[in-house]
Structure formats: C-alpha cells, structure tokens
Amino acid sequence: MTGAQLTQLLQSAVFFGTVIMYGAIGEILTEKSGNLNLGVPGIMYLGGIAGLAASFFYEINTENPSAIVCLLLSFIAAFLASALGGLIYSFLTITLRANQNVTGLTLTIFGGGIANFFGGSLNTMAGGVGQISVATTSAAYRANIPALAGMGTVGTLLFSYGFMVYLAIILAVALHFFLTRTRKGLNLRAVGENPATADAAGINVTRNKYLATCVGAGISGLGGLYYTMDYIKGTWANDGTIEALGWLAVALVIFATWKTVNAIWGSYLFGLLFWMYLYIPGLTRSSQELFKMLPYLVTIAVLIFISLRKKRENQPPASLGLAYFREER
C-alpha cells in the first residue's frame, strides 16, 4: 500500500466514522437513562431527510441562497425532527409503558418510511425532474480552511473535513464530561442504573429519561444529516445505507462500552475495517463481502469479552431496556 493510498483510506475512515459516531454518542446518552432505543436507524433517517428537505425548499425558493442560512436551517430541522422521533419513542415507552425493543423497531420502520418516501418524491412533488440536490448547503457542510487543508498529508488527514467531523469529536468529549463530572450527568446515570433508588433520592426519573432520549435522538439524527450533506454530497439515495449505518452505530455503542470518548476512535476503527477491503490486493468480489463482516464480528467479540470479565465500569447500564413504574416495584 502506498502512502497516498494510506492517506485516502484514513480519510474515508474518518468520513465513514463520523456518521456512526453521531449515531452512537446520541444512543449512549439515551442508553445511560436506561432506554434501549433500537430506533437509531429510523432517527438517523429522520435527521437526514429533515435537513435535506429544509435546505431543499429554501434553495429552490430563493434566488441566491445564503450558505449560513442553509446550514442553520438544515441543522436545526435535522435536530428537531430526530428529537421528535425520540419524543414519540419516549411518550410510548415512558408514559404509555410500551415495550422498548418493539417501539424502537417500529420507529426504525417509520423513520425509514418517512425518509425514503420524501427522499424519493420531494423533487417530483416540487415539480422538478431527476435527483434531488442541494448544492449550496452541501458545499457549506463540506467547506474547510484551504490554508490548513493544503498542508500536505497532515493537512489532508487532519483539516480536510467539513465542520461536522470536528463537532462530533467535541460533542463526544463534552458528553463524556457531562456524564462523568457533572451532577446532572451523574443523576442521569443513576436513573439508568437503578431508577427506583434515583427516584427515592429525589431525582425526577421521567424527566431525565425524556430529556436524555430526545436530546440523544437529536444527536443521533445529526449522523443522518452528515450522511446526506457531506458523505453523499447533498443528494438522496433509497438504498438503505442509512439503516445499515444506524445498526452499526448501535454496535459502536457496545464497542465503546457505553463511553462516548471511546466512540471517537471506535468509529474511525469501524471506518477503517469497513473500507479496508478496497486496499487489500487479490480479494475477489465475494471475499470483499466477508471483510465487511469485520466490524460486527469485532463487536460480538467485545460483547462477549465484557460479559466474561464482568468489570463493572464496562457493563451496560443496569436497568437498560427495563421499564420503570414507580408503583410496580
């Protein structure tokens, strides 16, 4: 493998990793409250399509769309739409006490349906032909600082990305700080570990669960936004990639052992594993498919390993997936 190829591989790993990093850190926040939201793929779909739709309508209705407005509109729309997905999930599982796994899977079906429905027909509905495209917005998302990005290999590796790549890292670090060093974060974790105790200590379990799930969903949805705006450059594809990436994000949560900082390197590692097959000589098309299994196999290995070692700080939140009803203890 040449140096240029290596740079290219690392770069695509970062692109790929950023999508699932958003999904995973949002889901970590959610799971810390004890909610296992299997709707991550659906939420990422919602984020992706909402951001795309918002900037699409702005761009076709404006003469000279301003990049900043495009950016803000799509970002806010994506966050809100995904948080709304989280709200549906929260309302059903927390208030109406529906089963978490089933509700999450339904959310995945629903989000994928909404996104692919509008993604496939937005342009036709607006009277256009061909593929939907939001060039201005996508350019804004992919903008980098040319002076820095031009600094040879280092520039390509570190500075050639749109702002969302860096935002993901900042968010992951900030969430880690929030969850381990602030009172609110500790309260949230107490809710996920043992809601009955948290309740007795005067922590509002319902509010914590709602907030963590909705904000977590909003963050996960940014992964979908990054995918549509940066990864596939402001278009839409009904090929189910977001769903596959969403499940990979769920896998990454386990791989990161529920710590957002681990998700940073974990996501890039998943990206590396995913793209590796392109750079290994002599692979046939069929054996490439076997290579793409790696991220999942590694996750299974981690899952087995943490259950074997039983180290307390690596375990899932103790009440993960269980509903909490105060009167049914």
Binding site: L96, A98, V102, F110, N116, G120, E289, S307
Partner: protein, 369 residues
C-alpha cells in the same frame, strides 16, 4: 425542597386495571387501529391530495384484487407468520431474539446452496426434505450461539442477536457474489428456472398451498407446545421469573438453549419457505426486514400464534396495498412503511389503555375505589 408543597391531586392519574374483559380489550385495539387509519388518511391526503377512501380502496385492490394477488398476499403472510411463530417461544421466555433476520437468511443460504448443487440430480421431494432439514439446522446454530453465551456468561442477547444479523447478511452477500448468475449481475437469479428442481410443487392446483400447509401446521403445533406441553410451561416460568424457575428446579440454562434452538430452527425454516416456496433465489432481501417485522407480530399477539395470523395478514396487506397505490397514483412505495409505523405506534400505545385506567381529577372518585 425548602418549602413544603401543598399536595394537590394531579389532573390525570393512572391506576392499574385488575382485569379487563376480552371484548373490551379488543374494542380498545380496534379503536386504536381505526384512529391510526384516520391519521394515515390525513397523512396520505396531506402529501397527495388524494381522497383517502379511494386510496384505501386501491390498497384493497392491490392485496386482494385478483386471485393471483390474493395468493401472493397469502404467501407473504405465511412467511411472516412462520418467523413470528418461531419467535414466540423465545419472547415468551423473555429472551430478546432480534436475530430472526439472520436466522432466516442462514436458512435461505442453506436452501439455495442445496438447490443449486442438487436441484437436477436429486428428486424434488427428497431434496425438499434435505433442504428443510439443513435450513432448520442452520437457523438452529445461528440461534444457539447467542443463547449459549447468554446461558453461560449472561451476555446481552438483544445486542448479540442483532449483530448476528449483520454477519448473516454479509455471508449472504458473499454467497450471492459467489453464485451470481449471469456473471456480473450480482444477483443469483431464479435457481433451476427450467427444471424447477427443488421448488415447492403445486398442490391441489395451487402454487403456494404447501407454504400454507407447513406454516399453519407450525402455528397450531406451536400453540399447543406453548400452552400444553411441559417444556412450554417451563418457558413460561423462566419468562416470568428466572428465580422462581431456579427454585422450582428448572434448569434455566438448558431451557434457554433449547428454546432458542427451536426458535432459530423455525426461523431458518422460514428461510427455506422463502427460497424454495416463494422467490427461488437468494439475496439479502430474502429476509427483507421481515425478521424485524415479525418481532412486532409476535409481541403484539402476546405470543398467541392464532392472533399472529391476523396481525401478519394486516401488515402484509398494508405492504401490498401500498405497492399498489404507489404505482397507481405515482407515489413511492415507502408510504407503506409510514402507514405501518403509524398503525403500530397506535397499537403499542393502546396496550396502555388495556392495562391501565386514566382517572380525571374530579368526579370519578367513586370508580377509583
């Protein structure tokens, strides 16, 4: 926390129902479905400006408009039902088998592989038995792996089975690339299209009669197994309380592994039915998300396999209907997923009103005992 708040009765509070008559429970569910259809109708109207009644009519036409369409609807209902029946024992045991998608695909790979290799050398009836056995075995292995880890080290089964799906999907992609026909198409194409070797034969003049017979037999068998057999009772006890089960002398590990072997095997058999009895090809869409949809089927039916028939039919009807409206009104057929999602949200929410009562602040005090 410094000042004591005046205690005031909340506007709404909830109380668990002691019990609810079956007819009332179904009435609540039916109301939920009707409400969801209204909401879906509003959605359809908002995006298309079409008369929703007309759209529902077109959907019905798409699912049951001709004898051929009806049979395709029945065939797909049977496949979904088969997976749901497979999931029932695992879920009853509170073992979250999210891995049906993978178990179906493994069964499908086994079937397609054998069909390709021996379709023209072994007589079809014998081959069908071999393929069924192989797919049962494949699904069984795929289900037992996570179960064994759960039993031995308490490894989280929800996440493990979920990951196994993707291993199976990649394995399927591998086989598709390996077996592709014609070369370069990246699809397997219909296997043995000329000879129909290893295809389900038509019974009583109906192409899909065998699918119906196998799946309905399984449905009845599973109902009896869960309700009247000793093993079914053990599953119920483990599902309700592992500690009770242990105290009663039930070997929880053994029950876990055995139940998942059965669950995985039936899901594998669904792969056999999907390949040999329906598509006669293999691709990652052989399972096509049905492994996930079946989870919802099994859960909503509360593991009653007969109720599953109705729910599977409803979901497949929606899907077929949406494909029809998509082509008829020039929409995109993902609308079916939106409608399915809305209906499921409502049914999930309605369970709350079956288990709990909502009491308003004033007036109804007498009712609250």
């Amino acid at each position: 926390m410094s000042s004591v708040k005046q205690h005031k009765e909340p506007l709404l509070r909830i109380a668990k129902r002691d019990g609810i008559s079956r007819s009332k429970a179904y009435a609540i569910r039916i109301v939920a479905v009707i409400l969801s259809l209204v909401i879906s109708g509003i959605f359809i109207f908002a995006v298309t400006k079409l008369n929703p009644i007309q759209v529902y009519e077109a959907m019905f036409n798409g699912a049951f408009g001709s004898s051929r369409r009806s049979w395709v609807t029945i065939r797909d209902t049977m496949t979904l039902l088969c997976i749901g029946v497979g999931l029932a024992p695992a879920f009853k045991m509170k073992f979250w088998n999210i891995g049906a998608e993978g178990q179906v695909l493994i069964g499908g790979i086994m079937t397609a592989g054998l069909m390709r290799a021996y379709g023209n050398s072994i007589p079809t009836p014998v081959l069908l038995v071999i393929m069924a056995a192989a797919s049962l075995l494949g699904g069984c292995v795929w289900g037992v792996i996570p179960a064994a880890f759960k039993a031995k080290w308490n490894t989280n089964e929800t996440l493990f089975t979920l990951m196994m799906n993707y291993v199976a999907i990649q394995l399927t992609s591998y086989c598709v690339a390996l077996w592709e026909n014609p070369f370069g198409s990246n699809t397997v194409g219909q296997i043995n299209q000329q000879t129909k070797g290893g295809w389900f034969p038509a019974l009583f003049g109906q192409t899909y009669a065998l699918n119906v017979i196998i799946v309905l037999a399984l449905t009845i068998g599973m109902f009896l197994y869960l309700k009247y057999s000793k093993q079914g009772y053990e599953i119920t006890v483990v599902g309700d309380s592992e500690n009770t089960a242990r105290y009663a002398g039930i070997n929880v590990k053994k029950v876990t592994i055995r139940t998942m072997a059965i669950s995985g095997a039936i899901c594998g058999l669904a792969g056999f039915i999907a390949v040999a009895g329906a598509s006669h090809t293999i691709s990652t869409s052989t399972a096509g998300g049905r492994g996930f949809t079946a989870i919802i089927v099994a859960w909503l039916a509360q593991f009653n396999t007969f109720v599953m028939v109705l729910i599977s039919l409803l979901l497949v009807f929606l899907q077929k209907g949406a494909i029809q409206i998509a082509s008829q009104f020039n929409l995109n057929d993902y609308a079916s997923n939106v409608i399915t999602g809305i209906i499921l949200f409502f049914i999930l929410g309605s369970e709350f009103f079956i288990n709990y009562r909502v009491i308003l602040r004033s007036g109804k005090e007498g009712e609250a005992k």
